[in-house]
């Protein structure tokens, strides 16, 4: 039995269909990358997986002992959180809350889980630091540690690198890859192509309907990859090639890194995905 099995999902808001015909599964140890154009319904699918909105039709089943409480979620970085007065340890331990049941306060077990995950994410020295004073990469590691407090088995990530600079992005993907190798299943929605799918073993591409689901190797040979990829390359100016190698080192140099608004995001994406198609 898979962790997650989705059969013929139709997703949308207020009766408007965003995407349909989505069928895929996530098994133990998988690293699934969900890609698609802006507005293709990637985040809608993510919300459906978390039970935040109901699919218009189709089924989402959880199996293999995964319950809703055992999903670790890493959201897009929200602007308001950037001035929230909270220490690293306060945020990380809040990930264990679902394990507390009806107990109002954290016990020794929860503190231990939080400590382990802070050490795992190299945050232990920062545990009393304020979240808003951390760098973007450190903030993402805090949110990752919090997600790991909720689960050791399945992580959902929604565009986790938005707003991070290039070097930090590569480090972050390296970290995810290590987690995956240690047995955590990963489902990630992402804007960037090369870097994001570099570590994945399964790909789901969605548009108005499902375009592709299967192994990465098959995907890279498929027509859908070629057209999707070429579409992005065509946006790019020459000489902005850049990519993360699987080991997390950096080759090439990207222009336009920071993204703040939709317009800049476009430019960021274009620069980011530019060039090198070596994977």
């Amino acid at each position: 039995m898979s962790f997650i099995t989705c059969t013929d999902l139709k997703l949308g808001y207020d009766g408007e269909t965003v995407t349909e015909g989505i069928s895929f599964e996530v098994n133990e140890g998988d690293y699934l990358c969900i890609i698609g154009e802006n507005g293709a319904g990637k985040s809608t699918l993510m919300k459906a997986l978390m039970g935040l909105n109901k699919p218009m039709s189709g089924k989402i089943e959880f199996g293999d002992g995964i319950t809703k409480q055992e999903i670790g979620y890493l959201p897009q970085n929200k602007e308001f959180q950037r001035d929230f007065p909270a220490s690293v340890s306060e945020i990380v331990i809040s990930g264990t809350l679902s394990k507390c049941g009806w107990r109002p306060f954290y016990g020794r077990a929860e503190r231990q889980v939080a400590e382990n995950n802070m050490k795992r994410m190299e945050l232990w020295d920062l545990k009393d630091k304020c979240y808003r004073e951390l760098s973007g990469g450190q903030q993402q590691r805090v949110l990752l540690a919090r997600a790991l407090c909720a689960t050791g088995r399945l992580l959902l990530l929604d565009e986790p690198v938005t707003g991070l600079d290039y070097k930090v992005t590569c480090e972050f993907y390296g970290l995810l890859s290590e987690l995956n190798k240690s047995g955590v299943s990963i489902v990630m929605v992402s804007h960037d192509l090369e870097e994001a799918i570099g570590h994945a073993n399964k790909i789901l591409q969605i548009g108005r309907e499902q375009v592709f689901f299967g192994d990465k190797e098959d995907y890279l040979r498929s027509e859908s990859w070629k057209s999707f990829h070429n579409h992005h390359v065509s946006h790019v100016h020459a000489g902005e090639a850049s990519q993360c190698t699987p080991s997390g080192h950096i080759s090439g140099h990207g222009a336009l890194r920071r993204s703040e608004g939709p317009l800049k995001q476009e430019a960021y994406d274009a620069g980011y995905k530019g060039g090198g198609s070596k994977l």
Binding site: M50, L52, Y73, Q81, S94, P104, A150
Partner: protein, 279 residues
């Protein structure tokens, strides 16, 4: 007469002691909820609700019910729930809904008080409902107990739900994903804030009550970087300002509500100045 003797003389009157107790418990519970309101960008809900409470108070006065709170409390809680729901609805902008509610309630309240009032001093009634100036003279023991019980409930719920309120305030999506019903806690917070506002109306009046909600939280957030310290600091500032404001209003014969609010404001200005010097 020395200052000490003045205080002893005043505190020999039961209504002064009552007012003192109510001011402290009310400021304390307002400041605790204030942090959540400020961080969730809900500050205006508090403001809108206080106007609704004014309208409800006007209705209650005209109907001459024995205890105004029987009418005012349920109406304000109802308004809190409606405001929260419309705030979440993307079609009706939350701030517009609040403006409609607060201005409407003010107009209806003033209209009712003028047209149906049996009192000979309408403007005095309106003024004391808005600014709470003279109403501490009319506090009776029953109303003091009512306030104390409500304050104990608010504070106890805040302590018991502390970790969950933190999680929901910091990241609603993550809380939902891990099986914490964020809507339920938002509803609890809205109800609690309605309770605090009704409780504080007698003391500081409906126009000034939101100052007690917002100022201590804003001051504390500028002094401390982690959530627990911000909560404690906010509570301390609120209690100190309530005590100091009460004593000052006795010494100077100034209106109680306004004096407490000015004390809170003075602390806020001092904190802002200190931070700008030491940064």
């Amino acid at each position: 007469m020395s200052i000490f003797e003045t205080f002893r003389m005043y505190f020999s009157y039961p209504f002064v002691r009552y007012a003192f107790v109510v001011a402290v418990v009310m400021s304390l519970s307002a400041s605790l909820l204030g942090i959540t309101l400020v961080l969730k960008r809900f500050s205006f809900i508090g403001d809108g609700l206080s106007h609704v409470a004014f309208g409800a108070m006007a209705v209650a006065t005209v109907f001459g019910s024995i205890n105004n709170n029987v009418i005012v409390l349920p109406l304000t809680i109802l308004a809190a729930v409606i405001l929260l729901k419309t705030g979440n609805n993307t079609k009706v902008k939350g701030d517009a809904a609040i403006a409609v509610f607060s201005v409407g309630a003010l107009a209806v309240g003033y209209f009712i008080m003028n047209v149906f009032s049996v009192s000979s001093n309408v403007s005095g009634d309106v003024c004391s409902t808005l600014f709470g100036s003279t109403s501490l003279l009319t506090l009776n023991e029953g109303e003091v107990w009512f306030s104390v019980v409500l304050a104990v409930i608010v504070i106890a719920l805040f302590v018991i739900l502390y970790n969950r309120i933190f999680a929901v305030t910091f990241d609603e999506d993550f809380a939902n994903a891990t099986g914490i019903n964020a809507d339920r806690y938002n509803l609890i917070i809205a109800i609690l804030i309605a309770v605090v506002i009704v409780m504080g109306m007698k003391m500081v009046g409906s126009l000034l009550i939101s100052a007690l909600v917002i100022f201590p939280a804003l001051s504390a957030m500028r002094l401390f970087d982690d959530y627990r310290r911000v909560v404690i600091c906010s509570a301390v500032i609120a209690v100190v300002c309530a005590v100091f404001g009460m004593l000052l209003s006795i010494l100077l014969s100034t209106p109680v509500g306004a004096t407490i609010v000015i004390a809170d404001m003075a602390v806020f200005v001092a904190v802002v100045l200190i931070r700008s010097v030491f940064k």
